[in-house]
Protein backbone atom coordinates (compact mmCIF):
# COMPACT_ATOMS: atom_id res chain seq x y z
CA UNK A 1 0.00 0.00 0.00
CA UNK A 2 1.53 3.23 -1.08
CA UNK A 3 1.45 6.20 1.21
CA UNK A 4 1.15 9.58 -0.41
CA UNK A 5 3.77 12.07 0.68
CA UNK A 6 2.20 14.89 2.63
CA UNK A 7 0.97 17.61 0.34
CA UNK A 8 3.14 20.71 0.39
CA UNK A 9 1.60 23.28 2.63
CA UNK A 10 0.80 26.75 1.48
CA UNK A 11 4.04 27.96 3.00
CA UNK A 12 6.01 25.69 0.69
CA UNK A 13 7.64 22.30 1.00
CA UNK A 14 9.55 21.61 4.21
CA UNK A 15 13.15 22.64 3.72
CA UNK A 16 15.64 19.78 3.78
CA UNK A 17 18.20 20.14 6.51
CA UNK A 18 21.35 21.79 5.14
CA UNK A 19 24.09 19.36 4.19
CA UNK A 20 26.73 19.34 6.88
CA UNK A 21 30.01 20.72 5.61
CA UNK A 22 33.33 19.23 6.46
CA UNK A 23 36.25 21.52 7.23
CA UNK A 24 39.87 21.14 8.20
CA UNK A 25 41.15 21.49 11.73
CA UNK A 26 44.65 21.17 13.10
CA UNK A 27 45.10 18.80 15.99
CA UNK A 28 48.34 19.24 17.85
CA UNK A 29 49.19 16.08 19.73
CA UNK A 30 51.88 15.78 22.38
CA UNK A 31 53.55 12.52 21.47
CA UNK A 32 55.85 10.17 23.30
CA UNK A 33 57.28 6.80 22.34
CA UNK A 34 59.76 5.37 24.83
CA UNK A 35 61.01 2.87 22.24
CA UNK A 36 62.20 5.69 20.01
CA UNK A 37 63.17 8.52 22.32
CA UNK A 38 62.78 9.64 25.89
CA UNK A 39 61.62 13.05 24.68
CA UNK A 40 58.06 14.23 24.23
CA UNK A 41 57.30 16.22 21.09
CA UNK A 42 54.37 18.04 19.52
CA UNK A 43 53.03 16.90 16.16
CA UNK A 44 50.43 18.67 14.04
CA UNK A 45 47.81 16.74 12.09
CA UNK A 46 45.29 18.26 9.71
CA UNK A 47 41.98 16.42 9.68
CA UNK A 48 38.72 17.00 7.90
CA UNK A 49 35.83 16.99 10.38
CA UNK A 50 32.21 18.05 10.83
CA UNK A 51 31.29 20.52 13.52
CA UNK A 52 29.37 17.79 15.31
CA UNK A 53 32.34 15.42 15.37
CA UNK A 54 34.05 14.68 18.63
CA UNK A 55 37.76 14.96 19.30
CA UNK A 56 37.70 11.17 19.54
CA UNK A 57 36.55 11.06 15.88
CA UNK A 58 39.43 13.31 14.89
CA UNK A 59 41.88 11.05 16.75
CA UNK A 60 40.38 8.01 15.00
CA UNK A 61 40.83 9.66 11.64
CA UNK A 62 44.44 10.45 12.44
CA UNK A 63 45.11 6.91 13.60
CA UNK A 64 43.22 5.18 10.81
CA UNK A 65 44.19 7.40 7.89
CA UNK A 66 47.45 9.14 8.75
CA UNK A 67 49.52 7.60 11.50
CA UNK A 68 48.69 4.18 12.91
CA UNK A 69 51.22 4.60 15.67
CA UNK A 70 49.15 7.25 17.46
CA UNK A 71 48.22 5.64 20.76
CA UNK A 72 45.26 6.41 23.01
CA UNK A 73 42.68 4.53 25.07
CA UNK A 74 39.00 4.42 24.29
CA UNK A 75 36.37 1.80 24.62
CA UNK A 76 32.73 2.83 24.74
CA UNK A 77 33.00 6.04 22.75
CA UNK A 78 30.00 7.35 24.70
CA UNK A 79 31.24 8.78 27.96
CA UNK A 80 30.67 5.81 30.20
CA UNK A 81 33.81 3.64 30.31
CA UNK A 82 36.15 6.40 31.43
CA UNK A 83 39.00 5.38 29.12
CA UNK A 84 39.72 8.51 27.16
CA UNK A 85 40.33 11.31 29.61
CA UNK A 86 42.96 13.60 28.11
CA UNK A 87 44.00 17.23 28.24
CA UNK A 88 42.23 19.02 25.40
CA UNK A 89 43.16 22.69 24.96
CA UNK A 90 44.70 22.62 28.42
CA UNK A 91 41.74 21.12 30.31
CA UNK A 92 40.95 17.55 31.24
CA UNK A 93 38.08 16.28 29.12
CA UNK A 94 36.80 13.02 27.66
CA UNK A 95 37.68 12.97 23.94
CA UNK A 96 34.38 11.19 23.28
CA UNK A 97 32.35 13.98 24.90
CA UNK A 98 34.16 16.97 23.47
CA UNK A 99 32.62 18.31 20.27
CA UNK A 100 34.65 20.14 17.66
CA UNK A 101 32.04 22.91 17.53
CA UNK A 102 32.66 23.73 21.18
CA UNK A 103 36.34 24.46 20.58
CA UNK A 104 38.08 27.30 18.82
CA UNK A 105 39.03 25.72 15.48
CA UNK A 106 40.89 28.81 14.25
CA UNK A 107 43.81 27.74 16.38
CA UNK A 108 45.30 24.24 16.61
CA UNK A 109 43.55 22.08 19.17
CA UNK A 110 46.09 20.73 21.64
CA UNK A 111 45.71 17.18 22.89
CA UNK A 112 48.03 15.72 25.51
CA UNK A 113 48.05 13.05 28.18
CA UNK A 114 46.53 13.74 31.58
CA UNK A 115 49.03 15.23 34.01
CA UNK A 116 50.67 13.69 37.06
CA UNK A 117 50.66 10.03 35.98
CA UNK A 118 53.55 8.51 34.05
CA UNK A 119 53.04 8.62 30.30
CA UNK A 120 53.50 5.18 28.74
CA UNK A 121 52.97 6.18 25.13
CA UNK A 122 51.37 9.25 23.52
CA UNK A 123 48.07 9.72 25.37
CA UNK A 124 48.23 6.57 27.47
CA UNK A 125 49.29 6.89 31.10
CA UNK A 126 49.97 4.37 33.84
CA UNK A 127 46.68 4.31 35.76
CA UNK A 128 47.98 2.02 38.50
CA UNK A 129 48.70 4.69 41.17
CA UNK A 130 45.20 6.06 40.52
CA UNK A 131 43.58 2.62 40.89
CA UNK A 132 45.71 1.83 43.95
CA UNK A 133 44.33 4.92 45.70
CA UNK A 134 40.82 3.83 44.71
CA UNK A 135 41.33 0.37 46.19
CA UNK A 136 42.70 1.83 49.44
CA UNK A 137 39.41 3.52 50.33
CA UNK A 138 37.64 0.10 50.21
CA UNK A 139 35.10 0.79 47.46
CA UNK A 140 32.66 -1.94 48.47
CA UNK A 141 29.86 -2.41 50.97
CA UNK A 142 31.14 -3.04 54.48
CA UNK A 143 28.76 -4.30 57.17
CA UNK A 144 29.35 -5.63 60.65
CA UNK A 145 25.81 -6.23 61.86
CA UNK A 146 24.14 -9.59 61.17
CA UNK A 147 23.00 -10.03 57.59
CA UNK A 148 19.32 -9.24 57.14
CA UNK A 149 17.03 -11.93 55.73
CA UNK A 150 15.84 -9.55 53.00
CA UNK A 151 17.16 -6.62 50.96
CA UNK A 152 18.83 -3.72 52.70
CA UNK A 153 16.21 -1.04 52.32
CA UNK A 154 16.93 2.65 52.02
CA UNK A 155 14.56 5.57 51.72
CA UNK A 156 14.80 8.13 48.93
CA UNK A 157 16.23 10.79 51.21
CA UNK A 158 19.10 8.58 52.34
CA UNK A 159 19.75 7.53 48.75
CA UNK A 160 19.90 11.16 47.62
CA UNK A 161 22.73 11.86 50.04
CA UNK A 162 25.32 10.08 47.93
CA UNK A 163 23.54 10.10 44.57
CA UNK A 164 26.03 12.48 42.97
CA UNK A 165 29.07 10.36 43.79
CA UNK A 166 27.54 7.16 42.35
CA UNK A 167 28.06 8.60 38.88
CA UNK A 168 31.84 8.29 38.81
CA UNK A 169 33.34 6.38 35.88
CA UNK A 170 36.92 6.41 37.22
CA UNK A 171 38.27 8.36 34.27
CA UNK A 172 40.89 10.16 36.41
CA UNK A 173 40.10 13.55 34.87
CA UNK A 174 39.60 15.00 38.35
CA UNK A 175 42.65 13.54 40.05
CA UNK A 176 44.97 14.57 37.20
CA UNK A 177 43.58 18.12 37.16
CA UNK A 178 44.61 18.62 40.78
CA UNK A 179 47.72 20.76 41.44
CA UNK A 180 48.27 18.90 44.70
CA UNK A 181 48.31 15.54 42.91
CA UNK A 182 50.74 16.81 40.25
CA UNK A 183 53.36 17.42 42.89
CA UNK A 184 52.48 14.50 45.17
CA UNK A 185 51.45 11.23 43.60
CA UNK A 186 50.89 9.79 47.07
CA UNK A 187 47.84 12.04 47.58
CA UNK A 188 44.69 9.92 47.35
CA UNK A 189 43.24 12.40 44.88
CA UNK A 190 39.67 13.54 44.25
CA UNK A 191 38.44 10.34 42.57
CA UNK A 192 39.32 8.12 45.54
CA UNK A 193 37.61 10.57 47.91
CA UNK A 194 34.54 10.75 45.67
CA UNK A 195 34.27 6.96 45.76
CA UNK A 196 34.82 6.92 49.52
CA UNK A 197 32.02 9.49 49.81
CA UNK A 198 29.75 7.16 47.87
CA UNK A 199 29.99 4.59 50.70
CA UNK A 200 30.58 6.84 53.71
CA UNK A 201 27.24 8.57 53.15
CA UNK A 202 25.36 5.36 52.26
CA UNK A 203 23.06 4.52 55.20
CA UNK A 204 23.41 0.78 54.46
CA UNK A 205 27.18 0.85 54.78
CA UNK A 206 28.95 0.51 58.12
CA UNK A 207 32.53 1.11 57.00
CA UNK A 208 32.33 4.89 57.19
CA UNK A 209 34.57 5.33 60.26
CA UNK A 210 37.15 2.97 58.73
CA UNK A 211 37.28 4.97 55.51
CA UNK A 212 37.35 8.29 57.33
CA UNK A 213 40.33 7.04 59.30
CA UNK A 214 42.11 6.18 56.05
CA UNK A 215 41.32 9.59 54.56
CA UNK A 216 42.36 11.35 57.77
CA UNK A 217 45.99 10.41 57.07
CA UNK A 218 48.59 12.88 55.85
CA UNK A 219 47.97 12.01 52.19
CA UNK A 220 44.20 12.00 52.60
CA UNK A 221 41.40 14.52 52.21
CA UNK A 222 43.22 17.27 54.11
CA UNK A 223 45.65 17.68 51.21
CA UNK A 224 42.77 19.19 49.23
CA UNK A 225 43.17 22.95 48.76
CA UNK A 226 39.79 23.51 47.09
CA UNK A 227 41.11 24.70 43.74
CA UNK A 228 37.94 23.31 42.11
CA UNK A 229 39.87 22.04 39.08
CA UNK A 230 38.37 18.60 39.72
CA UNK A 231 34.80 19.87 39.73
CA UNK A 232 35.49 21.72 36.48
CA UNK A 233 37.06 18.62 34.91
CA UNK A 234 34.55 15.92 35.86
CA UNK A 235 32.79 14.72 32.68
CA UNK A 236 29.94 13.35 34.81
CA UNK A 237 29.24 16.74 36.33
CA UNK A 238 29.91 15.45 39.84
CA UNK A 239 30.36 18.21 42.43
CA UNK A 240 33.73 16.74 43.33
CA UNK A 241 34.95 19.49 45.64
CA UNK A 242 31.63 19.47 47.48
CA UNK A 243 31.99 15.73 48.10
CA UNK A 244 35.53 16.21 49.40
CA UNK A 245 34.39 19.03 51.71
CA UNK A 246 31.62 16.80 53.07
CA UNK A 247 34.17 14.10 53.79
CA UNK A 248 36.35 16.65 55.63
CA UNK A 249 33.37 17.81 57.66
CA UNK A 250 32.44 14.19 58.41
CA UNK A 251 35.90 13.81 59.94
CA UNK A 252 35.40 16.91 62.08
CA UNK A 253 31.74 16.75 63.02
CA UNK A 254 30.65 13.18 62.27
CA UNK A 255 28.93 11.71 59.24
CA UNK A 256 25.45 12.85 60.24
CA UNK A 257 26.47 16.48 60.63
CA UNK A 258 28.63 16.77 57.54
CA UNK A 259 26.19 18.13 54.97
Amino acid sequence: MAVDPPAPSAAGAPQPAPEPVAFDITVKVRRFDPDVSDQHYWQDFTVSVFATDRILDALHKIKWEQDGSLTFRRSCGHGICGSDAMRINGKNRLACKTLVKDLNTKKPITVEAIKGLTVKKDLVVDMEPFMAAYRKIKPFLITHSPEPTRERLQDAEDRARFDDTTKCILCAACTTSCPVFWTDEQYFGPAAIVNAHRFIFDSRDEGGPERLQILNQAEGAWRCRTTFNCTDACPRGIQVTEAIQQVKRAMMFGIDDAT
Binding site: H40, Y41, W42, G90, E112, S177, T227, F228, D232, Q245
Partner: protein, 129 residues
Amino acid sequence: MASVGTLYRGDISMWSWVAQRITGVAVLFFLYVHVLDTALVRVSPAAYDDVIASYKTPLVNFMEVGLVGAVLFHALNGLRVIAVDFWGKGTRYQKQMLWTIVAVWVLIMVPATYFMTLHTIQALFGSTP
Protein backbone atom coordinates in the same frame (compact mmCIF):
# COMPACT_ATOMS: atom_id res chain seq x y z
CA MET B 1 62.74 18.16 19.90
CA ALA B 2 61.93 18.27 23.58
CA SER B 3 58.67 19.85 24.52
CA VAL B 4 56.81 20.98 27.55
CA GLY B 5 53.12 20.44 28.12
CA THR B 6 50.66 23.29 28.01
CA LEU B 7 49.76 25.24 31.10
CA TYR B 8 46.75 23.60 32.77
CA ARG B 9 43.79 25.91 32.16
CA GLY B 10 42.22 25.30 35.53
CA ASP B 11 39.22 26.69 37.32
CA ILE B 12 39.40 30.36 38.36
CA SER B 13 39.66 29.06 41.89
CA MET B 14 43.03 27.50 41.02
CA TRP B 15 44.32 31.01 40.37
CA SER B 16 42.83 32.38 43.58
CA TRP B 17 44.66 29.57 45.37
CA VAL B 18 47.92 30.56 43.63
CA ALA B 19 47.31 34.20 44.59
CA GLN B 20 46.58 33.17 48.17
CA ARG B 21 49.94 31.40 48.31
CA ILE B 22 51.88 34.28 46.78
CA THR B 23 50.26 36.94 48.95
CA GLY B 24 50.77 34.73 51.99
CA VAL B 25 54.49 34.37 51.35
CA ALA B 26 54.81 38.07 50.52
CA VAL B 27 53.16 39.10 53.79
CA LEU B 28 55.31 36.63 55.72
CA PHE B 29 58.41 38.12 54.12
CA PHE B 30 57.28 41.59 55.12
CA LEU B 31 56.79 40.41 58.68
CA TYR B 32 60.38 39.15 58.83
CA VAL B 33 61.69 42.51 57.65
CA HIS B 34 59.33 44.33 59.96
CA VAL B 35 60.39 42.33 63.02
CA LEU B 36 64.03 42.97 62.13
CA ASP B 37 63.73 46.72 61.61
CA THR B 38 61.61 47.17 64.72
CA ALA B 39 64.04 45.11 66.78
CA LEU B 40 66.73 47.53 65.66
CA VAL B 41 65.26 50.24 67.86
CA ARG B 42 66.46 48.34 70.94
CA VAL B 43 69.94 48.01 69.49
CA SER B 44 70.44 51.53 68.29
CA PRO B 45 67.69 54.15 68.00
CA ALA B 46 69.87 56.13 65.59
CA ALA B 47 70.27 53.20 63.24
CA TYR B 48 66.54 52.61 63.50
CA ASP B 49 65.85 56.20 62.48
CA ASP B 50 68.20 55.81 59.52
CA VAL B 51 66.46 52.68 58.34
CA ILE B 52 63.01 54.20 58.69
CA ALA B 53 64.18 57.29 56.82
CA SER B 54 65.45 55.09 53.99
CA TYR B 55 61.88 53.78 53.63
CA LYS B 56 60.61 57.21 52.63
CA THR B 57 61.26 56.67 48.93
CA PRO B 58 58.74 56.31 46.10
CA LEU B 59 59.72 52.66 45.57
CA VAL B 60 59.02 51.72 49.18
CA ASN B 61 55.80 53.72 49.03
CA PHE B 62 54.59 51.61 46.09
CA MET B 63 55.68 48.48 47.92
CA GLU B 64 53.52 49.60 50.84
CA VAL B 65 50.56 49.79 48.50
CA GLY B 66 51.45 46.29 47.32
CA LEU B 67 51.58 45.12 50.91
CA VAL B 68 48.14 46.54 51.69
CA GLY B 69 46.82 44.88 48.50
CA ALA B 70 48.36 41.55 49.46
CA VAL B 71 47.08 41.61 53.03
CA LEU B 72 43.63 42.65 51.87
CA PHE B 73 43.38 39.92 49.24
CA HIS B 74 44.71 37.30 51.61
CA ALA B 75 42.22 38.29 54.29
CA LEU B 76 39.19 38.47 51.98
CA ASN B 77 39.99 35.25 50.18
CA GLY B 78 40.70 33.64 53.53
CA LEU B 79 37.11 34.40 54.54
CA ARG B 80 35.95 32.83 51.28
CA VAL B 81 38.00 29.69 51.93
CA ILE B 82 36.52 29.44 55.43
CA ALA B 83 33.05 29.64 53.88
CA VAL B 84 33.97 26.93 51.36
CA ASP B 85 35.22 24.75 54.22
CA PHE B 86 32.45 25.22 56.76
CA TRP B 87 29.33 26.42 54.97
CA GLY B 88 27.34 23.60 53.37
CA LYS B 89 26.59 25.65 50.27
CA GLY B 90 30.05 27.22 50.10
CA THR B 91 31.26 25.06 47.22
CA ARG B 92 28.21 25.99 45.13
CA TYR B 93 28.78 29.70 45.58
CA GLN B 94 32.57 29.77 45.47
CA LYS B 95 32.72 31.65 42.18
CA GLN B 96 30.20 34.29 43.23
CA MET B 97 32.13 34.71 46.46
CA LEU B 98 35.37 35.08 44.54
CA TRP B 99 33.97 37.82 42.28
CA THR B 100 32.54 39.53 45.35
CA ILE B 101 35.87 39.67 47.14
CA VAL B 102 37.61 40.85 43.97
CA ALA B 103 35.05 43.67 43.70
CA VAL B 104 35.49 44.60 47.36
CA TRP B 105 39.25 44.50 46.89
CA VAL B 106 39.09 46.92 43.97
CA LEU B 107 36.65 49.20 45.79
CA ILE B 108 39.02 49.49 48.73
CA MET B 109 42.28 49.56 46.79
CA VAL B 110 41.39 52.41 44.44
CA PRO B 111 40.93 55.07 47.16
CA ALA B 112 43.62 53.48 49.35
CA THR B 113 46.17 53.70 46.56
CA TYR B 114 45.19 57.30 45.90
CA PHE B 115 45.63 58.44 49.48
CA MET B 116 48.71 56.35 50.17
CA THR B 117 50.60 57.60 47.15
CA LEU B 118 49.36 61.18 47.15
CA HIS B 119 52.50 62.44 48.82
CA THR B 120 54.84 60.46 46.52
CA ILE B 121 53.03 61.55 43.36
CA GLN B 122 53.30 65.16 44.43
CA ALA B 123 56.95 64.77 45.30
CA LEU B 124 57.71 63.01 42.00
CA PHE B 125 55.77 65.16 39.62
CA GLY B 126 55.72 68.41 41.54
CA SER B 127 52.59 70.51 42.04
CA THR B 128 51.05 72.10 45.10
CA PRO B 129 53.08 71.65 48.30
